[in-house]
């Protein structure tokens, strides 16, 4: 098998083998998080441009930390401070960033497909850090890594996703990744956020939409909570109290899931709305492991895209190499 990633824009087009490869390559970086000295020089002299046209705290800091732990430098663009406010087009802004010669662009944008569009116009690798309601590939990968570490596998699990699934790029990346490993999905939330069309977004993957939380949790191995975007609670007209009553994950409801079930949340959590503190801080919660794994996954992504590493079975001596590396192991 040979895998060469030019960009990382979405998980949907990747095969199970390619996804496994990405998860496996994250493992060495998980170990580095435990070292007393966490900084490598692997990407010394390389620059990662972080362009967040939509606000982000966790993902931006996570990519920034990943870049600096690999020895790379970062340039930062944040929506509030950017020329976009002054009327510059997206492509002009990106071309200007690119003119400062970064080696990779990590980009978030409120419009679905914006990252693909930019990637078509750039010759450096582009990483999608979330585009509209389309995908958030690094989140999908770090979730899968967290599940694999906790449950030992990502194959054939019952995965329940709760909340505003219609507007969630995290849910889509989760479905496209875990679906390729035979996972079955149950989506649950207020009907207007969980339209039946979602059952068809990943052909070949069993997805069902249910509207009673108790039913959705029955036998779940993995529960992925999504943040309730409280600004969206006006549409549908649903009070926070009603949401809590119908869809909050509390300890009593969690008992309906499989006894070893784990709870994920991409953050930021609304404690007391979609999840109770008891569950968020309980033994089944993986929320902080997700954050730690996020740095490892993003180190792997940056490393693979910037170094151009590939997996190959070719005899090492047949690779064209500079003299100093002619010996396979030296």
């Amino acid at each position: 098998m040979s895998t060469n990633f030019r960009d990382l824009l979405a998980l949907e087009p990747l095969t199970a083998d390619e996804l496994s490869f990405l998860l496996d390559q994250s493992k060495p970086f998980q170990e580095i998080q435990k070292h007393p000295l966490k900084k490598l020089a692997t990407l010394r002299g390389k620059t990662v441009a972080l362009a967040f046209f939509e606000t982000s705290t966790r993902t931006r800091i996570s990519f920034g930390t990943a870049a600096s732990r690999l020895g790379a430098d970062t340039m930062n663009l944040q929506a509030e401070a950017s020329s976009l406010k002054k009327g510059e087009t997206l492509l002009d802004t990106v071309f200007n960033l690119n003119a400062m010669k970064p080696d990779c662009l990590v980009m978030r944008h409120a419009a679905s497909g914006a990252t693909d569009y930019v990637a078509r116009h750039l010759d450096i690798p582009v990483v999608n850090a979330g585009d509209g309601t389309h995908e958030h590939p690094s989140q999908g990968l770090l979730d899968a890594l967290t599940i694999r570490d906790r449950l030992g596998t990502i194959k054939n699990l019952n995965v329940t996703i709760l909340g505003d699934i219609l507007h969630s790029r995290v849910a889509r990346s989760n479905i496209h990744l875990l679906g390729k490993f035979g996972c079955k999905f149950t989506l649950c939330g207020p009907a207007i956020w969980v339209p039946r069309e979602l059952e068809k977004i990943a052909p070949g993957t069993p997805i069902r939409c249910v509207y009673r939380m108790e039913e959705a949790l029955e036998g779940a191995d993995v529960i992925i909570m999504l943040r309730v975007q409280t600004e969206r609670l006006d549409d549908p007209p649903l009070s926070s109290n009603d949401y809590v009553l119908l869809y909050q994950l509390n300890a009593e409801r969690l008992q309906r899931a499989s006894p070893n079930a784990i709870v994920l949340h991409p953050g930021p959590m609304n404690r007391g709305i979609e999840i109770t503190p008891e569950v968020a801080d309980g033994p089944q919660s993986c929320v902080l492991e997700q954050v730690t794994n996020g740095v490892a996954v993003r180190m792997a992504i940056l490393y693979l895209l910037i170094s151009g590493a590939t997996e190959t079975d070719t005899h090492p001596a047949l690779e064209v190499k500079p003299k100093e590396s002619a010996n396979a192991t030296d």
Partner: protein, 182 residues
């Protein structure tokens, strides 16, 4: 390009005897096995380290800890050898502070791997001493690095390649000298 085998440098029993000798030399020179640990460099240094540790069990009756180090992230030629840059896991399940570490690899050539390995080790702490043990030293150094424990010196030209084939990885056991032919 193809690979042509020129000669066999070591047979399986020769490899075995050499590793036995290297185990004795390391124990002798270290004054026992106290604070001693072996670090196998991925890939073929790993089975070699495990076998040397096993031989030491026969000498001192002591279990010498063995760690695994993948030096890919510490290389200085990242972009030039992309196909080799796939990561494997390091696993050093003990603290390296104040330890007497012996790096184990199959072939010592330019010395760049060992330079990278030392960077990797020092990210984990401050060992008391680091020495180097290789099955084959083939010369052509580009770094001021020498091995303290050497299985065999082999004179080579720099188009030649030494392949150490071990049963754990290659399903056969011998050391061969090969050449690249257009």
């Amino acid at each position: 390009m193809r690979i042509v085998e020129k000669s066999q440098l070591m047979s399986a029993p020769e490899i075995d005897r050499t590793l036995q000798r290297l185990a004795h030399e390391i124990v002798e020179k270290s004054g026992g096995t106290k604070n001693l640990a072996l670090i196998g460099i991925v890939r073929r240094g790993v089975p070699l380290a495990q076998r040397i540790a096993q031989a030491m069990r026969g000498i001192d009756g002591v279990e010498v800890p063995v760690g695994v180090l993948d030096i890919t992230l510490y290389r200085d030629d990242l972009s030039k050898v992309a196909p080799m840059a796939v990561l494997r896991s390091s696993d050093i399940p003990f603290g390296v502070d104040n330890m007497d570490l012996v790096l184990i690899d199959d072939v010592l050539y330019t010395g760049r791997t060992i330079r990278a390995a030392m960077n990797g080790l020092f990210d984990l702490g401050r060992p008391k001493r680091v020495s180097l043990c290789v099955l084959i030293d083939r010369g052509h150094r580009e770094m001021p690095i020498e091995a303290q424990f050497i299985g065999r010196h082999v004179q080579t030209s720099d188009t030649e390649i030494i392949e150490v084939r071990l049963r754990e990885i290659d399903k056969e056991e011998r050391v061969v000298l090969v050449d690249r032919v257009e």
